[in-house]
């Protein structure tokens, strides 16, 4: 910026020189026409140097920025003199004009022509405007003074700090600018504003950054920075090492990995689960802890909290998943024990069943039953699951089994007591949460149990409605210890066969065959979605299922046909020719519509490349025929 300033100064100086030359020349012509004439007459051809010398000799400080005035005066001077001076003056005119070639060649010519009759007064007034030295400083000052003050002036408070650095740094500035800057503080504040603005206006782009920095340093808004600081900042950019970026980044602190504090309920759940385990193991009733959590357990907390178990329950799904195998496990045991259960449990690892344990299990189940009854279906299933987990962990399957049976039964009771919808929900929920297969057996037990246990239901219903008191649990458990086993055993055997057979025809599968249904269904679903897309109309869910059935049949037909065709061709591999024949028979491919056309229409490009032979470079065809 300083260099540029210097250049500008030089240019200005040159211009000012030119202007001064012109003015001086015109003055020369006006004032000392005769002298000039004499001198010029002596010199046949007045060169610029001679003219300049004349000018300097008769130097008269004039504002350098009055080209017009110079011109006007100069032009004005022309007609005043005699013709013998005309050449001189023309030369004089030409010299400044030549010097002004840089700036305004055309304008000079125009001005000369225009101002031939220009106003004397105007020239004189303009000429007499500023009687300062013809330096870039004065030039600038004139500019600044004459330029209109913009509205973006800073308040004086801002200007003053601007002035201060300017004054401080004035010494370091280059000569021309420095003098100007020094003058600035002397002037009145408004004038300082103007010069600052004007100077900045000219050097806005260059100084903006430094100005901005300084402004930031000074705590000023960026809009105000250029006003006063441009000069100072431009020159002192090297000096001002205090352009520090505001250290506000530190203030913004990351919240950090704030962990959520464990909810109060978590403790309850943990204790509750531990208590469950304890009760299941020891069958002693440390129930207080159980009751309170059971009573207050909302579904989410039970599900979400991972409490310090021996085997951690990560969350709802894992617990549920754990519960599922446990349920199946227990279910299997139940079957064995009842000896009238379905064979679905055969796949499960069954453990020993004993009547005594059954009693214990029942006793243990009472808790869960109550809990389930009191809680929501979610809770029940979860607790149910958790119960399942614990027996798994403990290795006492029967307990869980019994518990689950009881819980299921009780759940069913509760559902009945409160409405069939709940049972359905519960069942549905349990079904949803459980995996296919062995779960069904456990679920099937629910309706059985519900219908069977009248007294247990009665007893359980009351605590359910009363919403959970551990005392109830304990009391019930104790109560159920004796009567529970026989009725449960009596009830359970009777119940399972019918609902199971009614409800789960496809369900009794070994877990190994589970993947068969899912991928097949997903594949069909893929095409069903295409159906939805092709139809361009909303469809019912049942319609989609219908489509899947149709697709299933279609696949059957397809495979049979392909087999026939391949056999007809004496092959054991189905080849594209067989497919083409099939499509021809279906009416998709005809003499008008070829297979390639269909391929092009409906298949993406990549498949088309593989299907339709295409010639490539090197005299090759892909795919090879």
């Amino acid at each position: 910026s300083i260099a540029r300033v210097g250049l500008n100064v030089a240019a200005g100086r040159r211009r000012s020189e030119a202007a001064t030359e012109g003015e001086l020349l015109k003055r020369l012509g006006r004032l000392a026409a005769e002298a000039m004439a004499d001198s010029y007459s002596r010199d046949s051809e007045p060169t610029t140097r001679t003219l300049l010398r004349r000018v300097l000799d008769t130097a008269d400080p004039r504002t350098p920025r009055r080209p017009r005035s110079a011109r006007t005066e100069y032009v004005r001077a022309l007609p005043q003199h005699k013709s013998n001076l005309r050449d001189v003056q023309r030369a004089l005119l030409q010299t400044p004009s030549s010097r002004r070639l840089r700036s305004q060649t055309k304008t000079t010519a125009r001005r000369c022509s225009n101002r031939a009759r220009s106003v004397d007064r105007l020239a004189r007034v303009q000429a007499s405007g500023h009687l300062e030295e013809q330096t870039p400083r004065t030039l600038l000052k004139n500019i600044l003074l004459t330029a209109p003050e913009s509205s973006i002036l800073m308040p004086e408070s801002v200007v003053k700090p601007v002035l201060a650095p300017q004054v401080v740094q004035a010494s370091r500035r280059e000569s021309s600018r420095g003098s100007l800057e020094l003058q600035l503080p002397e002037l009145e504040p408004p004038t300082t504003l103007a010069p600052g603005l004007l100077a900045l206006g000219r050097r806005k782009q260059r100084l903006r950054l430094s100005v901005f920095q300084q402004g930031v340093d000074l705590g000023l808004p960026p809009s105000q920075e250029p006003h006063g600081n441009a000069d100072a900042s431009s020159l002192t950019s090297s000096l001002n090492l205090t352009f520090a970026t505001p250290l506000q980044t530190q203030s913004v602190k990351r919240p950090g990995l704030a962990r959520r504090p464990p909810t109060r309920r978590a403790v309850d759940v943990g204790t509750f689960l531990q208590d469950l385990r304890d009760t299941s193991l020891a069958l002693a009733p440390p129930d207080e802890s159980l009751r309170t959590p059971v009573a207050t357990l909302p579904t989410d907390t039970v599900l979400e909290d991972t409490q310090p178990f021996s085997q951690p329950l990560v969350g709802r799904s894992p617990s549920v998943h754990h519960s599922l195998p446990c349920c199946s496990h227990s279910g299997a045991k139940d079957v064995e024990r009842a000896a009238s259960r379905r064979t679905w449990s055969s796949g499960l690892g069954l453990q020993n069943n004993s009547a005594g344990k059954a009693a214990q299990l029942l006793a243990g189940n009472v808790e869960e039953v109550d809990a389930l009854a009191m809680g929501f279906p979610n809770i029940s299933s979860n607790i149910f699951g958790e119960d399942g987990v614990e027996p798994l962990q403990n290795g006492v399957g029967e307990e869980a089994e019994e518990r689950m049976e009881e819980s299921l039964r009780e759940v069913e009771k509760a559902a009945e007591a409160q409405g069939s919808a709940r049972a359905e929900e519960l069942e549905g929920h349990i079904e949803v949460t459980k995996a296919e297969g062995s779960w069904g057996a456990v679920e099937a037990k629910e309706p059985e149990g519900s219908s069977g246990d009248g007294d247990t239901s009665g007893r359980i219903a009351s605590p359910e409605l009363a919403s959970s008191t551990p005392e109830f649990l304990r009391a019930r458990r104790l109560q159920f210890l004796e009567p529970a086993p026989p009725p449960s055993s009596a009830v359970l055997p009777s119940e399972p066969p019918e609902p199971l057979s009614a409800r789960l025809p496809p369900k009794p599968r070994i877990p190994g065959s589970r993947p068969r249904q899912d991928p097949y269904k997903t594949g069909l679903n893929h095409y069903a979605k295409l159906f939805n897309f092709y139809a361009k109309m909303p469809m019912e869910k049942k319609a989609v299922e219908m489509v899947e059935k149709c697709l299933d049949k279609y696949f059957q037909h397809l495979c049979d046909d392909l087999e026939v065709f391949a056999a007809h061709a004496g092959r054991k591999t189905v080849r594209p020719e067989d497919l083409e024949l099939l499509m021809r028979r279906q009416g998709l491919v005809s003499d008008q519509v070829s297979l390639h056309v269909l391929v092009e229409r409906h298949l993406p490009l990549e498949y088309r490349q593989q299907l339709i032979p295409c010639a490539f470079s090197g005299n090759t065809v892909f795919p090879a025929q």
């Binding site: 139809a535 361009k536 495979c559 998709l588 269909l598």
Partner: protein, 88 residues
Amino acid sequence: MALSTTVSQKKLIKRKAPRGFLKRVFKQRKPHLRLETNSDLLVHLNCLLFVHRLAEEARTNACENKCGVIKKEHVLAAAKVILKKSRG
């Protein structure tokens, strides 16, 4: 030089053919038969066309009943017709 059998240009194909699914279905039903690579795609094409025809027919049925939604009955009726046509 022949191109490779892999997908050229871009790795992402919209509306991919469930080739694995088709092969598995065929294998399950006809274990003694084999399905060739390219015929897999033609089977997929066949399925597309079948579904297309089915959808058209179902839509026609629904529009005839002045129904804005395709219902089970429409699909059923359409399936009867199209399956008969696709007997081969």
